[in-house]
């Protein structure tokens, strides 16, 4: 059953068929939101809201468009809204002089050499968070979701040259940051040895 057929069935009153779409896309949506927020619990709850929003917006879906782009556009908007709310919360907490203890936005780079896979993963996650939002969005859609530039254009509304530049800059910035961190770790490691 194609996406469009399912949408038609749901709009005709077979609400239970929506579950097929949820099963089909939940993995990708949760993956996308997890990479954007670097917060697995929040990603789950945002994803649930995303699917509710998709359901409410099904009457506005035009079949000539790509359904995947339609749902990722909703996921992107809701994730960016969440990130903006988080930023405001962090800002207010700082203004009020409170220590903000939400993990993703205040983790410092590790000072010890990464010894296992988990540390390596959290290092990459942190570096992804250091990227500008648009760069991160473009890179995640390309690298993790493996969308083509055209599909990214449908989701974000950006031009192809802009997407090329954002992804290219994101890669350079990541490379630079990872290299810098590796060097600083080497310096610390050498100093400790001495």
């Amino acid at each position: 059953m194609s996406d469009d057929e399912i949408v038609t069935a749901v709009l005709a009153g077979r609400r239970q068929d929506f579950e097929i779409l949820v099963r089909r896309y939940s993995g990708k949506i949760i993956h996308f939101i997890t990479r954007m927020t670097q917060d697995r619990d929040e990603a789950q709850s945002i994803s649930q809201e995303v699917f509710l929003k998709i359901f409410q917006n099904l009457p506005y879906y035009r079949k000539e468009n790509n359904f995947s782009a339609f749902i990722f556009k909703i996921a992107k908007n809701m994730t960016l809204n969440w990130l903006n709310r988080e930023k405001r919360t962090v800002l207010f907490s700082r203004l009020l002089g409170r220590e903000f203890n939400k993990a993703p936005f205040r983790q410092e780079p590790p000072r010890v050499s990464p010894q296992d896979q988990k540390e390596r993963e959290s290092e990459i996650s942190r570096n992804l968070l250091l990227l500008a939002e648009e760069q991160r969005l473009a890179l995640i859609l390309k690298v993790y979701l493996e969308f083509s530039y055209k599909q990214i254009r449908e989701i974000t509304g950006w031009s192809i040259p802009k997407i090329e530049t954002l992804i290219s800059r994101a890669k350079s910035r990541l490379k630079k940051n990872i290299l810098l961190q590796e060097r600083s770790r080497e310096v610390v490691y050498t100093a400790r040895k001495k």
């Binding site: 949820v22 949760i30 789950q44 090329e164 290219s168």
Partner: protein, 143 residues
Amino acid sequence: MNCKKVSRLLSIYQDRELTSALERQVEFHLRDCHACRSEWDGLQELVGSLKCLPPPASDPYFPTKVMAGLQDNRARKFRLLPAIAYALIFLTMFLSGFFLQLSYNNTMGAEKPKAATFTAVLLENQDLGLLAVHDNTLALFER
């Protein structure tokens, strides 16, 4: 193709978004240029390490939770209905009371000035007079 141009195109080449003609030119350049080759290796290593992040573990109950959320959303709407109905009933009662009171006041209040305004006209050469009360009631009376 020079190194500057290749360096600009490397990321797009990696994303497999170049035209086949440009792709061939980049490949040709990479075969000969050591500096660009090392930049390319760095990019490959970076994307490789990005891809080492595994997708989050899937929650088998996620679709069920979403469908339950849809039901909740619907139920929430229906839960609001009695409240809306009560509010409408209250509003109707309040407004009808208000208008009844207003019309009662108008009726009572209107009688006072009307009592003071009447005119009597004697019809010429007749023993009859015409009495107009409240400007809208006419009555005949004998002299």
